[in-house]
Amino acid sequence: MKRSVLIILSIILMFSGCAKKDSGNQLDEVKKRGVLRVGMSTFVPWAMNDKAGNLIGFEIDVATELAKDMGVKIEFVPTKWSGIIPALLTGKFDVIIGGMGITEERAKKVDFSDPYDFSGMSIVASRKKAPDFKDLASFNKSEILIAARLGTTAAEAAKKNFPNAQLKLFDDEAQAIQELLTDRVHAVVASSPLPEYQAIKYNSRFYLPVENTFENEPVGFAMKKGEESLKEYFNSWIKKKTGDGFLKERKNYWFKTRDWEKRVE
């Protein structure tokens, strides 16, 4: 009897003893470790696998450049988008560089760097199920079904712009697009340029009801709260890279051209 009490006590002690030691400064820790661990999730063309299984994309280029300038190695931690913030908070990686839009809700949980990119939302609709819709307002009806990716700002934008429509949320965009292909939803909302690409790819079945994007949102690196020196470092890096045109050039390559397509398929 006494022994089992001892065993239980020691198990409890073991767990409490493991409580995370707070090192305080994550920037120093990254440099000491020599590796920057970046959380990301697959989003075409922000981050994806090429034919050889390597990660490529806009965010991958940004993060690789960042690590190079910090003088450390880069390590990508592919993570499900729905669990990416808890994973950051529990220290699975140092920073999220994954096209994460800066929102008030997210800013309650994490700190954002200055924006390094802006991304708009666009909507792609089914020709058969939602023919000839000319404006966003025509999607704001209770019988309209709209698909988006779970936990993204696209889902929030859809909620905000189409409060009367019904939302169907999926784990990734491929499923949302598949839902549109089977005509189970009227439209898909996602960050531009994904809807545009899909409208080109399935030209006979999809169309863009509105040409322009809506909800232009700033995108930043997300890190744990209170990491001031890390944040300062990121902000000055972003300022420098905006100044020398690196960010713009990369953005152009991934978003305006489709040269990278043969690397994927």
Partner: protein
């Protein structure tokens, strides 16, 4: 004595119904999915030729299958150990041991597995991994680093992998606990009493009389549970272990070849689980031949 299997008219009709049903489903799929099937790249997800290394290297899905396999082996091992001890604790006369085991089984079995995995991964197992400093090991080139990455996962993925093994083992362990308990309790009371009468100690009674008899009753449900571990391991893809399912969903998000990849993954899981079923079947047959059953 075995009846000869005869092929009758009824069988023929049933077969025709089955095949036409399958054909109808395929036809509907083709008509309604409006899906452009493209199997051309799938082979390269399993094995691809690496021009730089001038050799064939495993593709993303095969690498994922290897992770799933390692994950299943380690989880099964630890789950069996947990199951054995918790099962013994559950039939123990010591109230604290008994309550601990009952609480464990009660908690784990009544939480949806996905919730359990999330909670355990974020709040508890991260601390275990930190305690062993898995997170901070730099890329190891030493010999034990190589062995570690072969047996478990490369150092960058080690923390997540260990967490996943812990989580799965604890989850499956609860079910194995019940299997072990039921197996031991199914051994007739008289056996234990006979052992007592012979003056065997509690340990000897368990080791030589009860457990060997319980084992053969435990084996079939245990085999089912092991196959379950392989299938359930897919769920750890939510905590971003790079197993087969995670690799597959990432590939789908990249390439939009949703159905081709799901079908490929299903076949890969099937090969693993069915292989397991056959292995267990032959073990059972061997035990039967040796007269254990």
């Amino acid at each position: 004595m075995r009846d000869r299997i005869r092929f009758t008219l009824l069988d023929l009709i049933l077969l025709i119904i089955l095949f036409s049903g399958a054909a109808y489903v395929l036809f509907k799929m083709k008509m309604e999915l409006h899906y452009e099937w493209d199997w051309s790249a799938v082979a390269s997800y399993i094995v691809r030729y690496d021009a730089a290394a001038e050799s064939y290297v495993p593709g993303l899905l095969l690498a994922g299958l290897a992770v799933t396999f390692k994950l299943s082996v380690w989880s099964t091992l630890f789950a069996s150990i947990i199951g054995l001890f918790m099962g013994l604790m559950k039939i123990s006369k010591n109230v604290i041991l008994k309550l601990t085991s009952s609480a464990y089984v009660g908690v784990v079995r009544n939480i949806p597995s996905i919730v359990f995995i999330f909670i355990f991964y974020f709040f508890i197992s991260g601390q275990i991994a930190d305690a062993f400093e898995f997170n901070y090991r730099s890329d190891s080139v030493s010999w034990y680093g190589t062995i570690f990455s072969f047996l478990f996962a490369p150092s960058s993925m080690l923390a997540v992998f260990i967490s996943a093994v812990f989580t799965l083992a604890l989850y499956e362990g609860a079910y194995m606990t019940e299997i072990v308990r039921a197996g031991i309790e199914s051994v007739e009371k008289g056996q234990g009493e006979a052992a007592d009468a012979l003056g065997l100690s509690r340990y000897q009674k368990m080791r030589h009389i009860v457990l060997p008899q319980a084992f053969k009753r435990i084996l079939p449900p245990m085999a089912g549970q092991i196959i379950s571990v392989i299938k359930d391991s897919a769920i750890v893809s939510v905590i971003s272990v790079q197993d087969l399912t995670f690799r597959g969903t990432e590939l789908m998000a990249s390439t939009y070849k949703t159905y081709e990849i799901w079908i490929t993954i299903t076949l890969m899981y099937f090969i693993l689980t069915y292989g397991c079923s056959i292995a267990v079947g032959s073990v059972e047959k061997r035990m039967e031949r040796k007269g254990y059953v």
